[in-house]
Symmetry: C2
Subunit: 222 residues, 2 copies
């Protein structure tokens, strides 16, 4: 466990529960809302309130990464945003490749939330030649066979996999071979990746199943 | 904690960590892959292997909900699929409404993964009149003002919120007023909902931040 006074550069991420890191993203989002609402400073209580977390929870989570804010004064929103972005690694631009520009891929290309958080999709790839050699949402779409070259030329670090489950491992293998450091997988399959490549899976049906469990148990107990 | 022998209908969902429920979805997905690969039975070790979980983890997770499989024999894939779908509440069809048919909403309407898991999107809503009174991906799109009536007529239980952050709370309020039991929110904002309504948030930028934390700490320690 962290002493609560370590600097972020001394934290071993293995020491930090995933739930804590995911709450950092929520704090970051809430801090942006607070600034938009005209609040220059905030407290752990106010920060947790809208998110449904206690002030103790907020302080405990932040304590993994150092010592923030002053007792009585609270946190300066802009300072805490900078600190959390530094912890998450989103205090710089990340260059991203999208593999698969079908229905979901095209939506992700048009999704504004990525760019606003510093994720720049600089290239997309598809096996369907009717989709390549053009731009979608301002992003050039290349043939899948060009992936390795483009990833190297464009210094791409992250890959989004938005292909069907049947071809997701192949797409991921190509991204890994091209040297990306992390993969966000939207295909409903668990990828087999080498240890040096980070990955996060987003399975939309799975999210709905989690919702169902809550609804079903709440309403009927089964 | 569960004794490991309780029946699922006696489990208080508050006793079950969210991480366990999310792993149930992964087990379910993996069981479908195993059946597709010709395996009628499996073991906790094989089930966990592709997912990166130990056999003890798999057994511990399932023990929250009852007693499954036989020592030495393992699990019958079809039986365990049925049991997990029963636990998650996805052993029946759920009728779903989509609010917002912009870029992301249209992609979600075309996403095959929902229907295959029993989530039937039967109506969509938008404030943009150029998008209403037509079908998108086979789903009729209504004006937002028709939401309460359509949700009642169509016996809709779940809502997907795919509108911008600025209007997400309004969309959620209308769904709640119409009587939905659960909301899956894709807008990058935390919704304020009554306790009797379940909700799950999917923030795509947040998922990428989680990936970045892993990559950034893995690669540079900062």
């Amino acid at each position: 466990m962290s002493s609560g006074r370590r600097k972020s550069d001394s934290v071993d991420p293995k020491d930090v529960p995933k739930a804590v890191v995911s709450r950092l993203s929520l704090y970051l989002r809430e801090l942006h809302h607070l600034i938009a609402a005209g609040h220059a400073t905030t407290s752990s209580g106010r920060l947790g309130q809208q998110l449904g977390f206690s002030d103790a929870q907020v302080r405990r989570d932040l304590a993994y990464f150092g010592h923030f804010g002053q007792p009585g004064v609270g946190y300066r929103c802009d300072e805490l945003i900078g600190a959390i972005r530094g912890i998450l690694g989103t205090d710089r631009e990340w260059r991203v490749a999208m593999v698969g520009v079908g229905n979901l891929g095209q939506a992700l290309l048009g999704y504004r939330g990525f760019a606003s958080q510093g994720f720049k999709i600089v290239a997309a790839f598809d096996v369907d030649q009717s989709k390549t050699n053009r731009q979608l949402g301002g992003v050039p779409v290349f043939a899948l066979d060009d992936l390795a070259q483009v990833v190297q030329d464009q210094r791409i670090e992250l890959g989004l996999v938005a292909v069907p489950a049947s071809t997701a491992q192949l797409a991921a293998d190509r991204l890994v071979a091209a040297g990306v450091a992390g993969i966000l997988n939207f295909a409903p399959v668990t990828l087999n990746l080498p240890d040096h490549v980070s990955h996060v899976g987003v399975d939309l049906a799975t999210e709905l199943e989690q919702l169902c469990f809550s609804v079903a148990n709440r309403s009927s107990g089964t």
